[in-house]
C-alpha cells in the first residue's frame, strides 16, 4: 500500500464491491472452486467478536429494555403526535444530513486522493479533528460563527452534521479512489470525455460501493445525534436519542424510553438492511486497482483552479470553527494574560485527563482492533453469516448512549462480571462504538488478500495459525493501523456513553471539558477551549504519525504484478 493512505481511511464498504479481490479478473476456475470450499473454515473465528457483542452490547441492551418494556407503552408512544414528530424529524434530518455530507464530501475526497498539493496530508489529518471534539465544544464554535437567523435552527444542525461527518466520506472514499487505476480516467479522456464527464460517468459509478460503505456510518451518527441537536437545534427539535435520554435520566419514564429504544432499533435495523441490500446491488464487478496512489496533475487552468478552490474551501471549512476555539482559549478575562487558561490547565487538569484519555483510548484501541480484526476475518470468510455480524457490530452506533451506559451499569453488577465503578467500563463502551470502524478499515484489505497467497504458505508447510501469523497479519498490518487510528479518534472524543458510567478517578478530556463548562466563568470557558485544542492537536499528531508508518503493505501489493503499469502521460506514480 502506498504511503499516502491516511490512518483514518480505508473505510470502504463492508460488503464492499470492487475491492481488489474482484480486481482479480483473471481468476482461474480452480481458484474459485478452492475458495468456495474455504467458507466454513473461518466461522469459528466469529465466535469471539459475537460473544463480545452479545456480552457487552446485547446483554446490557436487553437487561435495560426489560426494565421498562411494556406493550402498552408502544401504543401510547405511537399515538403521541409529539413523539411521532420527533421520529419523523430524527429520520429526515439524518437522511438530509447524510445526503448533504455525501454530496459535499465526494469531490474533496477525490481531490485529496488524486491531486498532489502542498499541505495535502495535513489537510487530510485535519479533517479528522471534528471526530474528537466533544459536541458541546462544537456547539460553542458554531453558535459563535453562524448567522443570528440560524441560531437554534435545523439548518445549523445540518451544517454541523456535515462538518463532523465529511471526514468519514473524504477519508473512506478517498482511500478507495486513490487505489482506482487512473488509467481508466485516461482511457475515458482519449474517448473524448471531458474531466467532468469522466468523473460523472467513470469515477462516480465505480466509487458507488465505497460511498455506500461509509454512508451507513454517517447515517447512524446523524440518526443518533445528541449534543449537536440539543445545542444547535435548541429544545424545539429533539431527536429520538434526546427523547430516550430525557425519559431515562430526567423523568425516569423507563417504559417510554424502552419503547422509544425499540423503535429506534427497528428503524436502524431497517435502514441497515436496505443498506446491505443496496451494497450488494452496487457491486459493480472487477475494477482495475492500483498498488500505489497515482496522482494527477491538473491538465487545464480550470482544473488547477478547481483543485485549489476545493483545498482552500475544505481547509477553511474545518479551520474556521477550530480557529474560533483556539481564539476562545486565549480569552480568559485575565487582563494582559491571554495564556491564563493554558497556564491553568497545565497546572490542574491537563496532565491527569490526558493520561486518563490515553489510558482509556489505549484500552479501547486494543479491544476494538482485536475484535474488529477477528470480526473481519469471519465476515470475509462467510459472506452470509458475515453480513449479519457486520450489521450487528454497527448496532451500537445506532443505539442510544444512555441505554448502553445504564445497561452496562445494571448488567455487570455482580460476579462473575462485577465492573461497578471500574474504569474498565469506559474502554469497553468505547470499543463497542469503535469496532465497526476497524471492520471498515480491515475488511477491504482482507478481502483483497488472494487466497492463493495463503495456499502458497500452506504448501510450504505452514500450519493454519502460521499462515495467519506469517501472511495475513503482516499484510493486514497497515489496515490495522488505520483501524486503530479510527478507534483512537473515537475513544478520545467519546462523551455520551462515558458520562453515564460511574467512574472513579478517570476523567477523560471530553469529561473534563464538560465539567469545566459547569461553572460560570470566562476562565472556565477558555480552559475548556484550551483542552479541546489539545485534543485536536493530539489527534492530528497521532494521525500524522500513523500516516508516516513505513512501507505499508496492503491488498493492492498482493496483486501488484497483475495491475497494469499505468504510467500514462499526465499520471505520475508516487514512489
Amino acid at each position: 500500500m502506498d504511503e499516502d493512505r491516511s490512518a483514518v481511511g480505508s473505510v470502504v464498504g463492508a460488503v464492499s464491491p470492487a475491492t481488489a479481490s474482484e480486481a482479480k479478473a483473471a481468476d482461474t476456475e480452480a481458484a474459485a472452486i478452492t475458495r468456495s470450499q474455504r467458507h466454513a473454515s473461518a466461522l469459528w473465528i466469529a465466535v469471539v467478536p459475537t460473544i463480545f457483542l452479545a456480552v457487552f452490547f446485547g446483554w446490557p441492551l436487553v437487561t435495560m429494555l426489560r426494565r421498562g418494556l411494556a406493550w402498552s407503552a408502544f401504543s401510547s408512544v405511537l399515538g403521541d403526535s409529539g413523539i411521532r414528530s420527533v421520529m419523523w424529524f430524527t429520520a429526515w434530518q439524518a437522511v438530509v444530513s447524510t445526503f448533504a455530507t455525501v454530496v459535499l464530501g465526494v469531490w474533496p475526497a477525490y481531490v485529496l486522493a488524486r491531486y498532489r498539493f502542498t499541505g495535502r496530508r495535513a489537510l487530510s489529518a485535519l479533517l479528522a479533528v471534528p471526530f474528537v471534539l466533544p459536541t458541546v465544544v462544537v456547539g460553542l464554535a458554531f453558535l459563535a460563527l453562524l448567522p443570528d437567523s440560524w441560531r437554534r435552527s435545523v439548518p445549523a444542525i445540518l451544517v454541523a452534521h456535515v462538518w463532523m461527518n465529511v471526514a468519514v466520506i473524504v477519508r473512506t472514499v478517498g482511500s478507495f479512489v486513490s487505489q482506482l487505476d487512473p488509467g481508466l480516467e485516461d482511457a475515458a479522456a482519449t474517448l473524448g470525455a471531458s474531466r467532468w464527464k469522466t468523473l460523472r460517468h467513470v469515477v462516480l459509478p465505480l466509487t458507488k460501493g465505497a460511498i455506500l460503505g461509509s454512508v451507513a456510518i454517517v447515517f447512524l451518527f446523524c440518526f443518533t445525534s445528541f449534543g449537536i441537536v440539543r445545542i444547535l437545534g435548541g429544545p424545539a427539535h429533539p431527536t429520538l436519542e434526546v427523547e430516550i435520554w430525557r425519559r431515562t435520566t430526567q423523568s425516569l419514564d423507563l417504559s417510554t424510553a424502552a419503547a422509544l429504544s425499540v423503535i429506534q432499533l427497528v428503524l436502524i435495523v431497517g435502514a441497515l438492511s436496505i443498506w446491505t441490500w443496496r451494497q450488494r446491488r452496487a457491486a459493480s464487478g472487477p475494477v482495475a486497482m492500483r498498488t500505489r496512489t497515482a496522482f494527477r496533475t491538473a491538465s487545464s487552468r480550470t482544473e488547477s483552479l478547481a483543485v485549489a478552490v476545493t483545498a482552500v474551501v475544505a481547509a477553511a471549512f474545518v479551520l474556521v470553527p477550530v480557529g474560533r476555539l483556539v481564539a476562545q482559549s486565549m480569552q480568559s478575562s485575565r487582563p494582559g494574560n491571554p495564556l491564563a487558561a493554558w497556564q491553568a490547565i497545565v497546572h490542574s487538569d491537563l496532565g491527569a485527563s490526558l493520561w486518563a484519555s490515553a489510558r482509556v483510548a489505549a484500552g479501547a484501541v486494543l479491544v476494538a482492533t482485536a475484535m474488529g480484526a477477528l470480526a473481519s476475518i469471519a465476515i470475509a470468510g462467510n459472506p452470509r453469516a458475515g453480513a449479519l455480524l457486520d450489521a450487528g457490530l454497527m448496532l451500537p452506533l445506532g443505539t442510544s448512549a444512555v441505554t448502553i451506559g445504564f445497561g452496562l451499569l445494571i448488567t455487570f453488577d455482580h460476579p462473575p462480571i462485577d465492573l461497578r465503578g471500574s474504569w474498565v467500563m469506559l474502554p469497553l463502551g468505547h470499543a463497542l462504538v469503535a469496532t465497526p470502524f476497524v471492520v471498515r478499515a480491515v475488511l477491504p484489505t482482507l478481502r483483497g488478500i488472494d487466497p492463493d497467497l495463503r495456499h502458497a504458505a500452506s504448501t510450504l508447510g505452514a500450519r493454519p495459525w502460521q499462515v495467519w501469523r506469517n501472511v495475513d497479519l503482516p499484510v493486514l498490518r497497515r489496515a490495522l493501523i488505520v483501524g486503530a487510528g479510527f478507534a483512537a479518534a473515537i475513544s478520545l472524543g467519546e462523551f455520551g456513553a462515558s458520562s453515564f458510567l460511574a467512574r472513579s478517578g478517570t476523567e477523560t478530556v471530553p469529561l473534563a471539558i464538560a465539567r469545566l463548562l459547569g461553572r460560570p466563568s470566562k476562565l472556565n470557558l477558555a480552559e475548556a477551549s484550551a483542552l479541546a485544542t489539545v485534543l485536536m492537536v493530539v489527534i492530528v499528531a497521532i494521525l500524522l504519525i500513523l500516516d508516516r508508518q513505513p512501507g505499508g503493505i496492503g491488498q493492492s501489493d498482493v496483486h501488484r504484478r497483475r495491475a497494469r503499469p499505468a504510467r500514462v502521460a499526465r499520471t505520475e506514480v508516487s514512489r
Binding site: I51, F52, V55, R67, V136, G139, L140, L143, A144, R152, R230, I231, G234, P235, A236, V242, T249, Q250, L252, S332, S333, R334, A340, A344, H347, S348, D349, A352, W355, R359, L366, A370, L409, I410, D413, P416, I417, R420, P427, L428, S499, F500, A502, R503, S504, G505, E507, L511, R515, L516, L517, G518, R519, P520, S521, K522, L523, N524, L525, A526
Partner: protein, 378 residues
C-alpha cells in the same frame, strides 16, 4: 472484579494491565482514594495522609460537577476511612435515576447530590437508601430536615436558582435592571432573557417551579405565554444558556438576563490564578429564586454502613460545611458554619425564596413540564 469468566478475561486483562500503572502514579492503592484529582482545586495526590493498610475506603457517588473538598482529608485523618469520589452522572437527574436503577447493588456507598426536586423519587424508591439520623441533625436547617421525616437522606447544602443579570450591560445602556418575575415580561426587557428547558435541565426545572410557586399551578402557563411573547429564548442546558447566550458567558452571547444560580456572580472572583477580577459583572435577582437543597444518603447494599454513617456525619459537620462555598459554590446547611465574605457580599441567598413541596413536585412535574413545553416550544 475478582472472578471473571474467561471470555471477559480476554478483554479485561489488557485493560487491567493498563490500570495497574494508575495507582502507581497517585501513590498506594489506599491513598488513591483521597487523591482523586479534585477539579478546580489542587490535586492532593501523594501528600494525602496515608491510611492504615486494610482500612475501608468509601465510594462517594455524586454528579460530575461535584468537587471533593480538601476538608475530606480531615475525615480520613481522624477516622482512617478513605473517601473516593465516583462520578456517576452528568447531572443530578442522571445520578439519582442511575442509583434507582442499580438499587440494591449500588455503584458506591454514599450518594450525594439528590435535591428537593428529586427527593420524593429517591425517598419513595424502595431499597435505595438506608435511613440514618445524623448526629448532626439538630444543627442543620430545620426546614430542610423536615423534608425527610424518615431520615432516608440528610440535607447537606443549599443554594438558589435565580435570574442573573449582566450588570455592565444595564449600566452601559442606562437601563434599570429588572427585579421581579413581572418585570421580565415588560417590553423594555424584550428578547433579553434566556432560560433552560425544564425537561432537560435541573436549573430550568427549578426556575419553572419558581414560577409555579409564584403564579400557581394554573397561572404559570399564562406567565410563560407572556414571556414567550416577550422573546424568551429557551435552550436545553445551563452551560448552553450561560456560555452561548448570556452576554457575560464569554463566548459572544448577546442576552443580558439568564437563569443561573445565586452563587454564580462571585465565582469568577475566586477561581483561577491571580490577578482575578475583584468586582462581579453579574448579579442575582433575589425575588426570582427557587430554593434548592441537596442531600446525602447511605445506599442500600453498601457493605460499610457504620463507616457510611460516620461519613454522613462528617458531611453535615462544620469542617466540611465550611469548605463547601469555595469548592462547590453552595451554602452550608448549618447555621453555625461561617461563610466567606465574597458570598455574603455577592451571592446572598434570597430572603424569600420560592418553593414547592417535594411531594407536589413528584406528583406534577411531568404534567407541568408538558404544559411548559406546549406553551414555550410549540
Amino acid at each position: 472484579m475478582k472472578r471473571r469468566t474467561p471470555l471477559v478475561l480476554a478483554a479485561t486483562v489488557v485493560l487491567a494491565a493498563c490500570g495497574s500503572s494508575t495507582s502507581r502514579s497517585t501513590g498506594s492503592a489506599t491513598t488513591t482514594a483521597v487523591a482523586v484529582t479534585t477539579p478546580g482545586s489542587t490535586l492532593a495526590g501523594s501528600s494525602a495522609p496515608s491510611v492504615a493498610a486494610g482500612s475501608v475506603t468509601l465510594k462517594l457517588l455524586s454528579y460530575d460537577a461535584y468537587v471533593l473538598p480538601d476538608s475530606v482529608k480531615q475525615f480520613t485523618a481522624a477516622t482512617g476511612i478513605g473517601v473516593e469520589f465516583v462520578k456517576a452522572g452528568a447531572d443530578a437527574g442522571t445520578l439519582v435515576n442511575s442509583a434507582i436503577l442499580t438499587a440494591g447493588k449500588p455503584q458506591g456507598d454514599v450518594l450525594f447530590g439528590i435535591d428537593n426536586t428529586l427527593l420524593s423519587r429517591g425517598v419513595t424508591s424502595k431499597g435505595l437508601f438506608i435511613p440514618y439520623r445524623s448526629k448532626e441533625s439538630a444543627n442543620l436547617d430545620q426546614t430542610a430536615t423536615a423534608l425527610v421525616p424518615g431520615h432516608e437522606v440528610t440535607p447537606i447544602d443549599t443554594s438558589d436558582v435565580c435570574v442573573n443579570i449582566d450588570t455592565s450591560y444595564f449600566t452601559a445602556k442606562g437601563l434599570t435592571p429588572p427585579a421581579t418575575f413581572d418585570d421580565l415580561v415588560k417590553p423594555e426587557y424584550k428578547g433579553m432573557l434566556v432560560v433552560e428547558n425544564p425537561g432537560t435541565s435541573s436549573t430550568g426545572l427549578a426556575f419553572m417551579l419558581a414560577t409555579v410557586a409564584k403564579y400557581g399551578p394554573d397561572g404559570f402557563a399564562a406567565y410563560w405565554k407572556q414571556l414567550r411573547g416577550n422573546g424568551v429564548v429557551a435552550v436545553d442546558s445551563w452551560d448552553d444558556a450561560y456560555f452561548n447566550e448570556f452576554s457575560q458567558g464569554g463566548s459572544g452571547g448577546k442576552l443580558p438576563i439568564v437563569v443561573s444560580y445565586a452563587t454564580s456572580p462571585p465565582y469568577p472572583l475566586v477561581t483561577g490564578d491571580e490577578p482575578r477580577p475583584t468586582v462581579p459583572t453579574t448579579a442575582n435577582l433575589p425575588d426570582t429564586c427557587f430554593r434548592q437543597i441537596e442531600f446525602a444518603g447511605i445506599l442500600d447494599g453498601s457493605k460499610h454502613v457504620a463507616e457510611d454513617q460516620q461519613l454522613v456525619d462528617f458531611l453535615a459537620g462544620r469542617p466540611y460545611q465550611e469548605s463547601l462555598p469555595l469548592s462547590n459554590f453552595v451554602y452550608p446547611i448549618r447555621a453555625d458554619a461561617t461563610v466567606p465574605d465574597v458570598f455574603t457580599k455577592y451571592a446572598t441567598l434570597s430572603p424569600k425564596p420560592w418553593s414547592v413541596s417535594p411531594g407536589d413536585i413528584a406528583k406534577n412535574r411531568d404534567a407541568w413540564i408538558e404544559t411548559w413545553t406546549k406553551t414555550v416550544l410549540r
